[in-house]
């Protein structure tokens, strides 16, 4: 594997640096402590990385077997528009997650967890930089409706929590638990998207994926390993962390993670154009299988910690009984473990959008009963949030027949906050000529 590092034109590089000074205040601290927390690892590089020696041939879709496209004008206008939307959404997620992480990173219970998340933030910044490189390295004008590269960058850097493209990036974190569960659940969707895009018929996009995926592997560990350790502490009845607390955060993020794949009935266009190699439902199914394994593993860590004298085979049998048959084990009930909500739970987009379906698949018909149910399964900080208020308002309209579900889905998110341009007193733009 050989990788080419590319730096943006100075004014754009400076714009990203300027953005991170406002949105990622711990960046310098991370770089100063890099060798302490990540000894012998290569130093961080804020640059675009392109894998060399990848396939030149389109792998899937209508153009399978043809030479990959290396410039937007080799794509049809429709293909280029579609790809541009993917790049823009990808860029939005990268910068959006930094804004989310930043709000609660100082609440990390220990410094290792904190520096792990900081590294995740730095690498997300690099991924955002990568997407900006894709937008600026070629001329997209035939697909952008006249919007210049500079304007697209300005728009991306001006997004805030509440105005990003995907819902998962418009929710505030309520505690450091969200930093970790987000990494385990939402970054995992990112891994799927990057993996699917490795085949992309637009070669610069495909070449961007392998370096991003290698970094994403650590991001998932930065979610899963703290969750495992917390489960171990919960097994010891740690007063500060419980499996119930983890479950509330899972309930918050899992539905948004599923929606990041797009509507279950869609994804054909991505394959037709050769941009991805799985349809939305196929990818979502694989994801669900993977996070089910993840939670099984976390539950195993919990039981081993609770019953240190029990043989591993006994714990595995007990776990099977708890998860599959809802049995109990020496006073531990299946509800004491973490579990994956029903894939239709608390959805706002996709085929079960705006249906009132509980964690175990139970259905609700009355909005107030449903909201009281949600209050029992989501953390109180999130319940008191603007996002839940908006959700409840829109849901009431859907339930009353005043709004169609598909129209309601388009209204989420609508948290847009005032402002968006650089907050420096003397500057109103991120990109300065």
């Amino acid at each position: 594997m050989k990788v080419e590092n590319v730096t943006l034109e100075k004014k754009y590089h400076d714009a990203v640096e300027h953005w991170r000074r406002h949105n990622f205040k711990d960046y310098e601290l991370l770089l100063e402590n890099w060798q302490k927390y990540f000894p012998t690892d290569e130093n961080f590089c804020l640059c675009a990385k392109l894998e060399l020696g990848t396939s030149d041939t389109v792998a899937v879709g209508d153009h399978a077997g043809e030479k990959k496209r290396v410039a937007p004008d080799q794509l049809t206008e429709e293909e280029a528009r579609h790809l541009l939307a993917i790049i823009r959404a990808q860029a939005s997620t990268e910068f959006g997650s930094i804004q989310q992480h930043a709000a609660t990173i100082d609440r990390a219970p220990d410094d290792e967890d904190r520096f792990w998340v900081m590294r995740v933030m730095a690498e997300e910044l690099r991924h955002g930089y990568q997407m900006i490189h894709l937008l600026l390295s070629e001329d997209w004008s035939h697909a952008s409706g006249g919007t210049s590269g500079k304007e697209m960058v300005e728009e991306i850097l001006s997004m805030q929590t509440g105005s990003h493209v995907l819902d998962a990036f418009n929710l505030d974190y309520d505690s450091f638990i969200d930093n970790v569960v987000f990494a385990a659940f939402i970054d995992r969707v990112g891994k799927y998207q990057l993996t699917m895009q490795k085949v992309c018929a637009y070669k610069p996009m495909a070449d961007s994926m392998p370096p991003m995926l290698r970094e994403e592997a650590f991001h998932l560990a930065a979610g899963v390993v703290p969750m495992r350790r917390w489960a171990q502490r919960a097994g010891k009845d740690d007063v500060f962390l419980s499996m119930a607390t983890l479950q509330e955060s899972i309930n918050k993020w899992f539905p948004r993670a599923l929606e990041m794949f797009g509507d279950e009935r869609g994804g054909d266009t991505n394959i037709k154009f050769g941009f991805k190699d799985l349809k939305n439902r196929e990818a979502q199914d694989q994801y669900i299988e993977e996070v089910t394994r993840m939670l099984h593993d976390i539950n195993s860590r919990f039981l081993r910690s609770r019953f240190p004298g029990d043989a591993p085979e006994a714990i595995e049998r007990a776990l099977e009984g708890l998860e599959s048959r809802r049995e109990s084990y020496h006073g531990v009930a299946w509800t004491d473990l973490v579990r994956l909500p029903d894939r239709r739970f608390f959805r706002r987009k996709g085929e079960s959008a705006w249906q009132m379906i509980g964690i175990d698949g139970e259905t609700f018909t009355d909005v107030d009963t449903w909201l009281h149910y949600l209050a029992k399964h989501l953390n109180s900080g999130y319940m008191a949030s603007r996002d839940l208020k908006m959700y409840a308002d829109v849901l009431r309209k859907v339930a009353a027949g005043e709004l169609k579900p598909e129209e309601a889905s388009k209204r989420m998110p609508r948290l847009k906050r005032v402002g968006g341009a650089c907050p420096c007193s003397k500057s109103v733009r991120w990109v300065v000529d």
Partner: protein, 157 residues
Amino acid sequence: MAQAIAGTRIRPLDELDIGSIVRIDERISGIYRPEVWEHRVTYYLRRDPECSQVAEVDGKMVGFMLADVRGGEFGLEEPAGWVERFGIDPDHRGRDLGKQMFAAIVRQLAGQGVRSVRTLVDTRDAQVAGFLGALGFVPAPLQALEYGIEPGSTEKA
């Protein structure tokens, strides 16, 4: 890149392998030490997840081999692959899983321009030494040395 041979699949390490590695290690060593493997797996994932490989048989992870590329240590400037830890579930030995994982690692290292792979072995452990020999490892001019420190050495002579 994952590779499959009749029910066997060799693929890069990921963070969900930690539980299986803990289980395999516990079967081999009799010690349950999840913290050790959480730490080591995270290290290898952040180095380069494709340099470490695991083996699945019928969908169950039954073997692992952790490796990375290092350079600049002990005056060895040329980057070399280092295989540090490996283990195969005792129920799944004798299937060449170790060879298959090692072959995948070598392919990955070769793609990075690496020209040699190194490891350390306790020559008194005939099983491990034999396994490494079967993979093609040979004694290197580079020799591991050790110096014993007597208790009480912190006191000034």
